[in-house]
């Protein structure tokens, strides 16, 4: 089973999304692929991984009661 974990935080490091992702990945079985989604150049590498993935998990911050705009465009 292949899990794709996507960290959608715009911060480079020390983000809460990254912390939650590292915490949850301890309890996930099977193959884990960790990706970062920050701008448009990251899209293609994520799409390639999604071709044969079984599950997709997004870790994202809440911006003004909604999804951040850079994740919304994805």
């Amino acid at each position: 089973m292949k899990n794709v974990l996507i960290n959608c935080s715009p911060k480079k490091n020390l983000s809460a999304s990254e912390y939650l992702m590292s915490l949850q990945s301890l309890f996930l079985k099977g193959e884990k692929v960790i990706k970062k989604l920050k701008n448009k150049s990251d899209y293609m590498s994520i799409f390639k991984e999604l071709n044969d993935a079984d599950s997709l998990i997004l870790y994202l911050p809440l911006y003004a009661d909604g999804v951040p705009s850079h994740v919304l465009s994805f």
Binding site: A64, G66, H70, L72
Partner: protein, 162 residues
């Protein structure tokens, strides 16, 4: 002060400018929010990214009436509009208060009067419910007294109502 925030093309900006005090055109030529919170701490109500949205939260903060014209995107604002809303959290301050029995940030420029949202494009029933719920939350969070939401299925219907 009446402010219009729209994601239509630039031909509409002149038309809308006659009916309002300020028009903000969401053309997507700006960077998304980086989540640094410098607009709260280091330089209040000013973004560290030097582009056309650097001081937009001062305009949106002073608006009595805000009109948002947006395309429907899975029951949310379009990317360009959401980007502007993300970048304008400087219109509140980091300290907290109670508003309608909930904890929210204190508003830097005080309470506003009316938030009006005009949505165009195809929309399902479920997306409509999501949109109304999100606008209700935004109204409490950004401190508006009243709100209005209008849905238009086609672009020509919207043009008549502008």
């Amino acid at each position: 002060m009446k402010v219009i925030l729209h994601d239509l093309n630039s031909n509409f900006s002149e038309k809308l400018f006659k009916k309002s005090d300020a028009v903000i055109e969401a053309d997507g030529k700006y960077a998304p929010c980086q989540g640094c919170f410098n607009c709260w701490t280091k330089h209040p109500a000013e973004c560290f990214i030097k582009d056309k949205l650097q001081k937009t939260c001062r305009i949106l903060g002073r608006a009595d009436e805000l009109v948002i014209i947006t395309k429907n995107l899975y029951g949310a604002y379009s990317t360009e509009i959401k980007n502007i809303i993300d970048r304008t959290i400087g219109s509140s301050i980091p300290l907290l208060t109670y508003r309608k029995g909930e904890v929210h940030h204190i508003l830097r420029y005080g309470v506003h009067n009316l938030l009006k949202v005009l949505v165009y494009g195809d929309i399902t029933k479920q997306e409509k419910e999501t949109f109304v719920y999100m606008v209700k939350r935004n109204v409490i969070n950004t401190g508006y007294r009243k709100y209005e939401i209008n849905f238009f299925d086609t672009f020509s219907e919207l043009e008549k109502n502008i």
